[in-house]
Symmetry: C2
Subunit: 334 residues, 2 copies
DNA sequence: CTGAAAGCGCTTACAG
DNA sequence: CTGAAAGCGCTTACAG
């Protein structure tokens, strides 16, 4: 366990430790011959640099904190993948930090990561970015962060979103073109920006098609399966029920389908169902779900690149990015 | 950004930095009065200790590496939750390390985490533990690790498993008691210990019930939806098809159900389907899936506690733990 | 292109 | 119960 240090490498290579450090960090201004000597010594001794030492000496953690709400482990999966892969590619680690956004003192835990020097920057997923005070504090001390689909869109702060409104508009139009004139809707949680945007896309499409908005076939959900199930149960039992239901996300759409089946009806024969997100679940239920693809990994990747650029003090192309969505037509609609 | 250090706290409290360190680490032998003075100073200055400094000085990372196969982000979710929560509870961080077990040099990346002093111990999820050379190397240098459901069960090395064989036995018996005499089976990937154990539970149950094992209604799968789908497609088109299909995991069971529906048959009226794991998906398909609950979070929690005990040099109760499974009866069987 | 010195902010090992 | 010294293994800032 007594591991090799930079000092031993320097001795063997007959250079100073600073020169070894230069080679390790790929700095310029090292004579090719010297570099070779050092590399040989490193190889011979099986030297691997200590990350904690580097972190302490440099004052940087080379780590990105990914902040998300406890309750959204599912949504977080693709984000996690996108962030971790991109971060790794640029030599950064990722620190996952699930937290309870409903708790008053979650900001404390997050600020501690800063003061403990565990992270150099943050990525926030919704609705973890709703903590106003926290965001303000980070902004004040100029600590870098990028948010995913944040609620407020103050123009100074960077964020990455999907084209949620357009996506929902497209899907609603698709349903209308299929001949549906009564399209029900299950809304997502109010604290999420995307829920508002998607709903707006739905109402815009109705308007454009000249269809009157009908409040009675619109229900509030919370993005979980159960709420899709119960909302759809109510919609299905309506006197004049819709011929299609569009849900804020795939999980609620799956819940809606279960409710429809339980009521003895068929999808899509009796009612068409559409979702949003294109998570694996949407392919794993029967019939496979028509949905709007939200390229979560891509969003996460973009956000990570943006953050790393900030950390490196590089120029950033777009302060606010909107990644396009696209329709995925499967068998739950007709 | 010029943050407060232990030195400034010591000055304000009029003690040595060592005493501040004692208070920070909750060591005994600090006079109550001194402790108060230090705590006041900490509070007044808003001091937060630097983690990288602590790591370098102590030679410990207080971090657990969670090693899993790239391709199993889904399975990993509950493991991740269990490990992270338990680790956090004991003051440890978690470093996620997805890797490609099929790659020859994945061992290198993992050993680097050790040499870079990024982690104090590992938890391996299957099939990430199949790298024989790596396991041997870790064992040789006595680096602590705990494996989840490992393939080999060398008695020296700690692991945590579920009672996979018993669980599959119970489910098969349940199906037989329901009146099924022809129960098909979709096997899991050969590189997974659990796949072997579960299949053994199935054959044991058949034997105990005096039912002849029929190779023709047993198919090989790989735990993914698609393989469940294609295996079930074949089973369904058999002349003398079974009246029930038991799958190595829930995802394949969902795939099997889709294949059955596509063939114009009904679940459970024409064919009963059962899975294993009890992942969220099992409740989100219709009809909801009868399955065997594998308490993944609990397994992960147990493994983490075990590992931390090793790190602390504490006694460990059970070197090899087997967490019990239980039947979850829903509507996909009758 | 290379190096000597100082320091990052803690803990360890020892002494009292 | 408390402290002075040394050191963890690197990087920074500066000098040449």
């Amino acid at each position: 366990m007594a591991s090799v240090t930079i000092r031993e490498v320097a001795e063997l290579a007959e250079v100073s430790i600073k020169t070894v450090s230069r080679v390790l960090n790929n700095e310029r201004y090292v004579k090719e011959e010297t570099r070779k000597k050092v590399e040989n010594a490193i190889h011979k001794l099986g030297f691997v640099a200590s990350i904690p030492a580097r972190r302490l000496a440099s004052g940087q953690s080379y780590t990105i904190g990914l902040i998300f709400h406890n309750a959204s482990w599912h949504y977080i999966q693709d984000v996690q993948k996108g962030v971790m892969e991109t971060a790794h590619q640029y030599g950064y680690s990722t620190l996952l930090h699930p937290c309870d956004i409903t708790s008053e003192n979650n900001a404390h835990g997050i600020m501690n990561l800063v003061y403990q020097k565990q992270v150099d920057g943050f990525i926030f997923t919704p609705p973890a970015d709703n903590a106003k005070g926290l965001i303000l504090e980070l902004k004040n001390i100029q600590f870098p962060f990028v948010r995913l689909t944040p609620m407020d869109r103050e123009s100074q702060l960077p964020y990455v979103s999907a084209t949620d409104k357009q996506g929902a508009f497209d899907m609603t139009m698709y349903l209308i073109q299929l001949g549906h004139t009564r399209v029900g809707y299950i809304i997502g949680p109010q604290e999420q920006r995307a829920a508002h945007d998607r709903f707006a896309g739905y109402t815009d499409a109705l308007q454009e098609a000249g269809i009157r908005f009908d409040q009675s076939i619109v229900m509030q959900g919370d993005d979980h399966f159960e709420s899709g199930y119960s909302a759809a149960s109510k919609i299905v039992s309506l006197q004049n029920r819709p011929t299609a239901i569009f849900c804020n996300n795939d999980e609620m759409a799956a819940g809606a389908m279960s409710a429809i089946f339980e009521a003895g009806l068929k999808v899509p024969e009796d009612i068409s169902v559409a979702g949003f997100d294109n998570i694996p679940l949407s392919r794993q239920i029967w019939p496979p779900l028509t949905t709007v693809e939200q390229p979560i990994s891509e969003i996460a990747e973009m956000a990570t690149k943006h953050l790393i650029a900030l950390l490196r003090g590089e120029e950033v192309e777009c302060l606010h990015c909107n990644i396009p969505t696209r329709l995925v037509i499967r068998k739950s609609t007709r």
